[in-house]
């Protein structure tokens, strides 16, 4: 198992009252799975994504990522886990402006202190089919191309999981289809992908769906056909 979550709880205090964003959540993800986390807004979906992405720490419970317990790590150690084990893909692409696609993809490797950053970044851009747009800056690229750059940035460090947050939310249907196909290709190559979404069209393309509501997992259903 690449992810093991055991009775994870996270609370926030908002205006004096305490909100239980995640309440005793447990589940696991196998290596090579493609999982959709679904739920309405306010369900605790985002909180779960932040915890899985090591952007935050749970109040209690255990989170083991790639055989390493990451639930009690320091800020610096979490940054390192994010750098090595997790590839983020965001709804709004979140590329850095004013630097080229290639430099954006290089960035995680530079923070890791890699020597051959350039070559590996070029390789990653080739995988997402953007070899000819490497030296363009984000504002010279279309939405779909930007999201491809973001995917390239996510896979360049060869992470344990790819964590996508509404990856098709800002794209038209056709381009969204292309990105989902790209995720499928990556999944076929054995990469573990977790997609946070409320779009059933996206969820339908995943091997398993985890429904979350009021901070708790309602049901975890495998797709009847085991994905496409």
């Amino acid at each position: 198992m690449i992810i093991e979550v055991e009775s994870m709880t996270k609370t926030y205090s908002l205006g004096g009252s305490t909100i239980r964003a995640l309440d005793n959540v447990s589940f696991g993800v196998e290596t090579g799975e493609k999982v959709a986390i679904m739920g309405p807004s306010g369900s605790g979906k985002s909180t779960l994504m932040h915890l899985l992405g090591c952007l935050d720490r749970p109040d209690s419970g255990r989170y083991v990522l790639d055989k390493k317990n990451v639930s009690r790590l320091s800020k610096n150690a979490l940054a390192e886990v994010r750098n090595r084990k997790i590839g983020f893909v965001f709804q709004t692409f979140n590329l850095l402006p004013r630097i080229t696609a290639l430099e954006n993809v290089e960035l995680p490797l530079l923070y890791a202190g890699h020597r051959e950053a350039r070559g590996r970044a070029e390789e990653a851009l080739k995988i997402v089919g953007l070899s000819d747009r490497m030296y363009h800056e984000p504002n010279q690229l279309s939405g779909g191309e930007r999201q491809r750059v973001a995917v390239a940035r996510a896979i360049v460090t060869d992470p344990a999981i790819i964590l996508a947050d509404e990856p098709t939310g800002n794209l038209d249907t056709k381009t969204g289809e292309e990105i989902m196909r790209l995720f499928q290709e990556l999944n076929d190559q054995g990469r573990t992908i977790i997609v946070v979404t409320h779009d059933p069209e996206v969820a339908v393309r995943c091997s398993r769906r985890i429904h979350i509501r009021d901070g708790q997992i309602k049901d975890s259903e495998p797709m009847p056909t085991g994905g496409e």
């Binding site: 940054a79 995680p108 530079l110 890791a112």
Partner: protein
């Protein structure tokens, strides 16, 4: 992260907001330029004074009559120095090489229709080497001319210009206070020294000056030249002892003369300019400080504007230290660049001051290094707080920031 990548990103973000970056750097530019040009002005003034003083002569000590009186009652300048004092100094102080007795007064000079009011210096022929006067044309007067109180004069170039205009002064006769003097030589120009102009005077034998022109028995000063390598303090002490003994001054009474050496005068003058330079530099330094606050302000704006970028960087694995380094470097690039531009403006400004006024300026490498390192230090100091604020941002909040 790699150093040059950060510098590149920093430079790019500065270039993306050109006007804002320039305005933020302006304080540093002005501060550094002010420091450089003020220090250049101070160094120039100091050099001018030292040059002038050393043009007066090497190993020179000057004895002048002092304030008379005793028990705290001052009775004004007294006439205490005599020719015998001068001779005694030469005889009794072994470290004194040469002496020149000097009397001075002002006189009316006349050559045909031209008049001029100039200084008359009566002295011996030793005065020329002691005071670094060179006779450019003609000759100085001779020992025997001194002995015979000859009416011969060596004129300064300014005096020559005033009296003779274009014509040749040598062997001509000028009237000084109504008496005829033969011009035997013309001094080489030394340049105006501010408090007196050595180029506007007539140097004549002291015998002639004392008996015939000024009618005085006492000397205005005795110029001493110490032997090469002698300790001036030592010479001064010994000369003081000789003069006190000759003037029969009681051990508790003050001297009725004073002795100055050039090193002392140069020191006093450079102390004054030093103080001015420090004051000017300090005022300029304050503008550097203000410039630093400008940079801090713009860095705080930048950090707020780029909150989302900070969030992205943190999400893909930047540690707090990486973010701190990045923003600190941006502040340093800004202040360093401002410093460099400031050096250019300051050097240009100092050059312009030298061109347009009579003040000479000297740009010292040390003041450029000082200004550059202070501006960089200002960048580090004022960049640290904004950079730390950026580094401590929570990644989730930063990513959500619109």
């Amino acid at each position: 992260m790699l150093f040059w990548t950060i510098v590149k990103v920093a430079t790019k973000s500065l270039l993306a907001n050109k006007l804002r970056s320039i305005l933020a750097m302006l304080g540093i530019i002005i501060g550094v330029a002010a420091v450089i040009s003020m220090l250049a002005l101070g160094a120039g003034a100091q050099k001018r004074i030292v040059d002038r003083i050393s043009s007066m002569g090497a190993n020179l000590l000057i004895v002048r009559p002092g304030q008379g009186g005793h028990r705290g009652v001052r009775t004004g300048p007294v006439q205490t120095l005599t020719l015998n004092d001068a001779q005694a100094l030469l005889d009794d102080v072994p470290t004194i090489d040469v002496i020149a007795p000097v009397v001075r007064g002002s006189g009316q000079f006349k050559y045909y229709g031209n008049n001029s009011q100039s200084v008359i210096t009566g002295t011996s022929i030793t005065y020329f080497p002691i005071r670094n006067f060179e006779v450019e044309r003609g000759r100085p007067f001779t020992e025997s001319e001194v002995e015979h109180s000859a009416r011969v004069a060596v004129l300064g170039p300014t005096t020559v210009e005033n009296l003779f205009e274009e014509s040749d002064p040598l062997e001509e006769t000028v009237k000084i206070n109504g008496m005829n003097f033969k011009v035997v030589g013309v001094l080489k120009a030394k340049g105006d020294q501010g408090w007196s102009n050595p180029d506007d005077q007539a140097i004549i034998p002291y015998t002639t000056a004392m008996k015939q022109i000024l009618g005085v028995d006492y000397l205005r000063e005795i110029d001493l030249q110490a032997v090469e390598g002698a300790d001036h303090e030592q010479v001064q002490t010994e000369a003081t002892q000789v003069l006190r003994r000759r003037h029969r001054i009681q051990s508790e009474a003050d001297d009725d003369f004073h002795i100055r050496n050039l090193a002392e005068m140069a020191q006093a003058a450079s102390d004054v300019t030093q103080t001015f330079t420090i004051l000017l530099g300090a005022v300029a330094g304050i503008s550097l400080l203000v410039g630093g606050i400008g940079i801090m302000n713009i860095m705080l704006v930048t950090v707020t504007e780029r909150t989302r970028e900070i969030g992205i960087r943190k999400a893909i694995g930047a540690k707090d230290r990486d973010i701190l380094t990045q923003f600190l470097l941006e502040a340093i690039v800004m202040s360093g660049l401002g410093g460099l531009l400031g050096v250019l403006v300051g050097v240009g400004g100092a050059e312009a001051i030298a061109q347009m006024s009579q003040f000479g300026t000297v740009i010292k490498a040390s003041s450029v290094v000082l200004a550059l390192s202070v501006s960089t230090a200002v960048g580090i100091f004022f960049g640290f707080y904004p950079a730390r604020r950026a580094a401590l941002l929570d990644p989730i909040d930063a990513l959500r920031y619109e």
